[in-house]
């Protein structure tokens, strides 16, 4: 479904991605792990075309992502940004229903609002937040509104950039379950970035570790636990000692 071949991206002298190869099969859930600042968010933005890679190819369902008609191409995607990226000029429900209020997937306002409230419920937010503005919500609530917006139009491919950061453990569990449901029920393809090992275990069909600009290791959760790779071992157990320097 999604194929990355030798993707490179540098910001000035900072070579962030140095030849990323990754295959994601249709209907599977891939979790990307890796140290802070290794380029996980940049990787997702490259696939979405928000950041133009310096070299390499990105294919989505066999089509070159950089060539395809932009709007139709992006209509298949949902994205939760790391910072939420909610539109602060619009109330919460209009954020969630953004795609349903304009463009190709436009519906009557009342119906769009109903769908928005339903999606908010799925991320554990009551209908009372629908009329609030993003600035009136807590950080974790904003994150969940972002999540609701990402899934609102039922996209085929969904990217979650740190969906559970800033949430309490119970809510994090609810979100993990939701992501799992979306993949299993809707047959969506998901890529999730997380630092939360519990999310990795409950969401991933496949785990990929990004380190020093390449996918250093990839495999299932069971393989991740068994792998002798010292980098993966150090990372998933959060050890100070190991090949990854703790002080950078």
């Amino acid at each position: 479904m999604i194929e990355l071949l030798g993707v490179h991206k540098a910001f000035g002298a900072n070579a962030v991605l140095r030849g990323v190869d990754l295959q994601v099969a249709r209907g599977t859930s891939v979790v990307i792990i890796g140290g802070s600042g290794t380029g996980k968010s940049v990787l997702l933005k490259c696939i979405l075309g928000l950041v133009r890679p310096d070299a390499g190819a990105i294919l989505v369902a066999g089509e070159d992502a950089t060539m395809a008609g932009r709007e139709a191409f992006l209509a298949r995607f949902g994205m939760l940004f790391q910072g939420g990226a909610l539109f602060d000029s619009l109330p919460v429900w209009q954020n969630v229903a953004f795609r349903l209020l304009r463009g190709a997937k436009k519906r009557p306002r009342a119906e769009a609002r109903e769908i928005a409230v339903e999606k908010l419920r799925r991320v554990g937010l009551g209908s009372e937040v629908a009329e609030l503005y993003p600035a009136e919500l807590s950080g974790g609530m904003q994150k969940r509104v972002g999540l609701a917006r990402a899934i609102a139009a039922e996209p085929e491919i969904i990217f979650f950039d740190e969906p559970t950061t800033g949430l309490d453990p119970i809510m994090a569990g609810v979100i993990d379950e939701l992501i799992r449901e979306i993949v299993v029920e809707m047959g969506a393809t998901a890529m999730t970035i997380t630092h939360d090992m519990r999310t990795v275990r409950s969401v991933a069909d496949q785990v990929a570790m990004l380190h020093e600009g390449v996918i250093r290791w990839t495999g299932s959760v069971a393989e991740m636990d068994a792998t002798p790779d010292p980098y993966v071992h150090q990372f998933i157990h959060g050890l100070g000692q190991g090949p990854i320097a703790a002080v950078r």
Binding site: L50, E71, R99
Partner: protein
């Protein structure tokens, strides 16, 4: 090297300025092309009309009132030197409609609107809201830039018309209350000497200034650097750019409109 270093620096500066001019021109063409092609975002347009037009009325009105009043005093004082005090009504009217109404109105709008557009769009850029728009299949140029530029182009002439009227009224107030003009004579003089093109040229200038102000706000907002510093710098560049462009284009337009 030492001899040519200043030249090299000058060359770099000129090339940089040319490159920026090119980028702004492309941005402007892109914005205009989005105004002409659907989908149109009517709600965004109406909000922009409210923001740019309606909410600028007090600032533009006050500016015009005091300018018209001061103008009447100055022209009276100047006219007294060759016994031509009677020109006050017509010169105030011509000065306001041709020059001061559009230019000062435009500058006030630049301060108010270019800054707020640049800060708003710049913040959206920095907080990834622009990226989010793109992933939601919405073109930021169409959704953010086109409605604002169109709204400014259409509403600033209206603001200028209101400013012209208030400015003339300011002159009349001073003329009647301080300079001893007869109210009816003052108004008759104003109406008699004022020509349609005096007003029309000012309104045309207003449209150009409105376009430039919103364009600068959108351009610098969209190209904002990262973080609060980036947004601050974008806001400053938008106001400075808009003001300079207003004054420069005012000269050019005046040449085009009035040089025989």
């Amino acid at each position: 090297m030492s001899v040519s270093a200043p030249l090299a620096r000058l060359g770099r500066a000129v090339l940089g300025a040319l490159a920026t001019t090119g980028r702004v021109a492309i941005f402007a063409l892109d914005t205009v092309s989005h105004m002409l092609r659907p989908p149109f975002y009517g709600r965004e347009f109406l909000l922009a009309v409210l923001q740019i037009g309606w909410l600028s009325l007090p600032v533009v009105g006050l500016t015009a009132l005091f300018t018209g009043a001061a103008l009447a005093l100055q022209i009276y004082a100047g006219g007294a030197r060759f016994n031509a005090e009677s020109v006050v009504p017509s010169i105030v009217a011509i000065g306001m409609t041709r020059e001061l109404g559009p230019v000062l109105g435009g500058l006030m709008v630049a301060a108010r609107v270019a800054s707020s557009i640049a800060a708003e769009i710049g913040t959206m850029k920095v907080t990834e809201q622009i990226d989010a728009l793109v992933t939601l299949s919405t073109n930021p140029m169409k959704y953010l830039a086109a409605p604002r530029v169109l709204a400014a182009t259409l509403t600033v002439p209206v603001l200028v018309a209101v400013g012209d009227s208030i400015g003339i009224m300011g002159g009349w107030l001073v003329g009647v209350n301080r300079l001893g003009f007869n109210s009816a004579t003052y108004l008759r003089n104003t109406a008699e000497f004022l020509e349609g093109w005096d007003v029309g040229s000012g309104l045309a200038k207003g449209a150009v200034f409105g376009f430039l102000v919103a364009l600068m706000g959108c351009y610098h907002g969209m190209h904002s650097g990262r973080g609060a510093m980036g947004v601050g710098a974008a806001t400053k560049s938008a106001v400075v750019g808009a003001s300079v462009l207003i004054l420069a284009s005012n000269y050019l337009l005046t040449e085009v409109f009035f040089s025989a």
